[in-house]
Amino acid sequence: MSTRDPFDVQQKPKARAAAPRAAAAKRRNTVVGADAARIAVVLRGFAEGNYDGRVDAGAIDDPGLRAIAEAVNGAASAVVEDLRQAHQRVQIVTAGIDEAIEAMIRLVIQGDLSGSLRAGSTDSALTPLIAGIGQVMETLKKFVTETREAAMQLSTSSAEVLAAATQNESSTSAQASAIHETTATMEELKGASHQIAENAQMVAAIAEQTLSGAKQGEGAIKAFMGSMEKVRHNAVEVDDAIAKLSKRVERIGTVVEVIDEIADRSDLLALNAALEGAKAGEAGRGFSIVAAEMRRLAENVLESTKEIKNLITEIREATHAAKEASDGNKREASEGEKLGGNAMASVSGILSGIQETSDAARVIHLATQQQRTATEQVVQSMSEIEEVTRQAQAGSKQATGAASELTKLAERLAELVKRFKVE
Amino acid sequence: MGVSEEIRKKLLPRFRETTADRVEKISGALLELERGAGTPEALDELARELHTLKGEARMMGFVGISSVVHAAEDLLKALPKDSPGERLDALLRACGAIVPMLDAPAEGGDAAGKLAESLRALIAGPRGAPEGAAEVSTVAASPAPGPSPSHASSSATATTSTTTSTTSERAAPAAPAPAPARPAAPSPEARLELRGDKPAASIRVDVDRLDEIAALAGDVLVEGERAIRRSRDLNALFARWGRLSDRVIALAERLRDARTARLVEQIEGDVHLLRSDTFRFARAQTEAASSSQAQFGMLAERIGEARLIPLSGVLAGFPLAARDMAREQGKEVECVVRGGETGVDKAILLSLNDPLVHLVRNCVDHGLETPAERVQAGKPRAGKIVISARVDGDLLAVTVEDDGRGISPQKVRASALRKGIIGEQQAASLSARNALDLIFMAGFSTREQAGETSGRGVGLDVVRKRVTALGGSVTVESEVGKRTRFTLRMPQSLSLMKVLLVRIDEDVYGIPAVDVDSVGRLDPKEATEVAGIRAVRYRGRLMPVVALGPLLSLNGGPRSKRPLVAYVDHGSEGAAVVVDGLHGEREVAVKAPGAFLKGMRFVTGAAALEDGRVALLLSTPDIVAAARRLASPALARGRDRRRLRVLLVDDSAIAREAEAALLRSLGHEVDEAVDGEDGWRKLQTGSYQLLVTDVQMPVLDGIDLTRRVKATPRFVKLPIVIMSSLSAPEERRRGVDAGADAYIVKGELEAESLAATLERLCGVGA
């Protein structure tokens, strides 16, 4: 940025050429006075930049001085020549420099840093300058590039900041509304717990009623089971009676069998007696008649026993049926007992359930009351939170504004930087 | 009496034996004396023997014998040296009388007394009372009745009335020859008799009555068996009662309280007492039952023994009769009887007479050569006939042997062929032994004309029939040119016999134990098939295997793979008889099967069993003959038959094998199936020309199989033969209705009938 540097480079060689000549003049002055003075005067002019003055070399007798004077004259002429030539070169260089600077300025003004600097003169003295300018250009280019990148970054960051700010703002507002809602809900909850507490109280009351009802049911089932047991007991007694009866019938059967056997034998005996009678001829006639009579008797007995046997069979069937029925009774009674037992178990289950319910209702009632208090506290806290949130919301709005300003700035910067052509 | 009854009983057999020996010794010594060869030592010996005998007899309670011997002793002491003849005679007679007295009542009765008296009389004077000696010897042509065969007594009236009346119904007795021989008499031909006195030491009992008693004793024996069984039942009942009483006591204990304590104690006491009483009673009852059973057994045995009559009653007449018979034909004969003392059942004795007469006649008639022929053959002029009897286990064996020309199997064969008894092929296939057996066939006689003595309608076939009816057998052995021997075997006694009880289905039958070699299980692996006969090798012999049930046309028949089998022996033949069950060997009281069943095949008698049932006793000869017939292959005719492929369906392995063997023996090819379903399956795969099926089978029975086969068009022409043990007409009808072409009852299954059936159905045969 500094424009001084190229000039600096131009001054240094001039200083370097003047220094040795001054040193030589001084030393001659010391050897020959007057002549030397005259040479000194010329030399002083030289020193003052006046190279037109000359020492008359013929004038000076001393040969040394004269050679000096001649050398001074020659030097002055050489210097004049050199000066002219240097002048000429300075003119060219200056033109070159001007041209270069011109080009550079132009470039800078146009913002185009992409191109390279073309040197109008080929003067080697200008080369460092051009190189320096190139260097400056490069540095500039690099600077622009970096700036551009920074601007872009800034732009992005500011956008992000904006977004975050916006986000923040919206979330804050959402929070605010949520808190609002929560507060409302808490209000509702407060109402509901009140309701629950009331209901629980009601449940407890109902449970109390049910409990007494169930207790009555338990008593009824116990009574039912008692009667069932009685039924069963009766059935067992009936069974015993039946068993006794059938045993007796079996015994009758045995007796009848014996009678049957006797009758059968009697029948045979009578038959054989009749045969004997028949063999005895007329004498056995009466005998045969008696035998026949006996046989008829035996047959009657056999018939009777047959009837008895039928009766026994009937009794057997009847007792069997009775046994079946009593078995049925027994079965049903025990079934009833089982059902009663089941009912009893259910009822006691219900009872304990009801008891538990009532207890639970009471607990609920208590709990809901506690809850109400807690809810109220919560509502209080919530409204405080809401206030804070509101404040936060305002803050975040401001932040958003700043962020958007910043973004705009960043955008403008980026726009600016964009004007430099770097590539 | 010297000894207790028990010891006496024990010693009695020994006493009898030694006494017989002693008497023989004494008689021998007396004979020596008679010949004048007596030495003083011999005389001393004789006196000692007599003395010992007297002592023993007294000890054993034979008072009669003792008194007779005592008198003999006295007589011997008074024996004059010079002419002892008459007295010696008397002593010898006395000796002869002693042995029979062993079986007479101990006190010896009047006879003993009189004998002793007559001996004593001789001591006084040289001459006693010379009463008719001959009459006694002519008496006993027939056996004496009663337990005491005291021939010396003239119980002839009763005896002859029973026996002769029975014999006269049958063939005439051998000869009206006198039968002088007495059983166990020291010298058979001795014409000794007791002079005039009648030792009525026996009671005359009608033999029929004795038989009745024996039968009753047999029944009592069975009743005793039943009593033992009842006491077993009683013990079981008491055991039950004991268990119950334990429970009653336990119950009473549980129910006991202050109020009832006394009562409970009382009840307990009563129960204990009652229980111990019942057990004591039960024990006593059991003991009583078994001891009475033992006594019944003894009773039956004693009565059985008492009924035995010495064979000599029949045999004694033979020597003379044979001589007379021979004389008629110009032959000479010496007939010897051995073992005449062997006792047999009256019924046996009576039935034995005719067969023996016939056999002896046969010997004389056919067996013996004329003296000239004999001399030419290098034999003694007189032929010899030996009749010998002996007891072989339970069996009585009587042989009649002659040393005549023997029987030629060839001649028998030829004769049988000529008479049409057998066919030519059959004749060719007969073994020598079987050929000899032909002489027992009805209508066989090797003589062209009926001889004077034999061949009068009573042939050897009748002999066999008679003997078989007694549960016996008759066999013949002969060596041509040397001898012929007939052996009759029959139970010694008909009243008690050891039998093997076997079960067929539900019924029990008896096989004489002597004929049963052993019993066991038949391992099918041991059974082989020889020439189409199913047989088992048993003790180096092949026996046909037959199932007794089908053999007897009874149902049943073992279903077991290793059935129970009894190896039955009869003479040279035997059979492995398969039965459903074995009930062990038992001595049974044999009852006659009754007149109605007499002569029925297979049945020889019956025995009551303790459960009230009857065990029929089977005839071993019939079983063996039937087994042989069932097994006999008709191979001779089988050769020119067409070979059929037969499917045989029977679930009983035994029956199947038997039937298969039979079918194979007829030359057919047999495949077997084990039930109807199996048969039906096999029928599908094989091409059979005949289906033979059993009826009662599991899965699918024969009737249903028949129906199914006949309802299938493919098989409609396949002939079906049903072989069943069911013989009822309705069963047959059922089979025929189902479509069977023939119905054969297994029991009737014989090679010939089966062959005939197949011929009819399949046109097989020549």
Partner: protein, 169 residues
């Protein structure tokens, strides 16, 4: 209605002159059959039977009675018209025909009936089945009775059971 009269008349007459004959009456083949009562020695309950080997169906077996072995004769089987079903309670009439003693079984035993010989009529001229063995037909109060010729029947049974010649004479 006329029957009792008819039956009574001969009875009163019989007492005077013509002898009445006792017959043993049993039920068989669905009808009433009888035979001469003197042939019957005893009527017993049939004991457990043992089957006879190789026997015809009309001889279902044997049982013992009073120590005697008795064959059972089923007349129904003999004449080929069904069979008597044998139960433990079946009555067996022990009959004595000549030398033979058999137990005749029937469906049931009716008992003795008296019929005057004069009233007996000849049997129908049939000769198949049981008719072959009828000797007469009689009547009593209960109706007609076929009189069997039992000896011939038993004889026939014996002949069929033991073919002639196979029995020892």
């Amino acid at each position: 209605m006329a029957e009792p009269k008819e039956a009574q008349q001969p009875e009163s007459g019989a007492q005077a002159s013509a002898p009445e004959a006792w017959f043993f009456c049993l039920r068989l083949l669905g009808g009433r059959y009888a035979f001469e009562a003197p042939l019957v020695t005893e009527v017993v309950r049939l004991g457990p039977l043992t089957r006879l080997p190789a026997a015809p169906a009309f001889l279902p077996g044997v049982f013992t009675h009073r120590g005697e072995v008795l064959p059972v004769l089923d007349i129904a089987q003999l004449v080929g018209q069904g069979s008597v079903s044998l139960r433990p309670s079946t009555r067996a009439a022990i009959v004595h025909c000549g030398p033979w003693k058999v137990a005749v079984v029937s469906d049931s035993v009716e008992g003795l009936v008296a019929i005057p010989r004069r009233q007996l009529e000849p049997p129908p001229a049939e000769s198949s089945g049981v008719a072959e063995f009828l000797s007469a037909v009689g009547r009593d109060r209960a109706g007609a009775i076929a009189i069997l010729d039992l000896p011939r029947l038993v004889e026939t049974a014996r002949a069929r059971a033991v073919p002639a010649g196979s029995a020892a004479a």
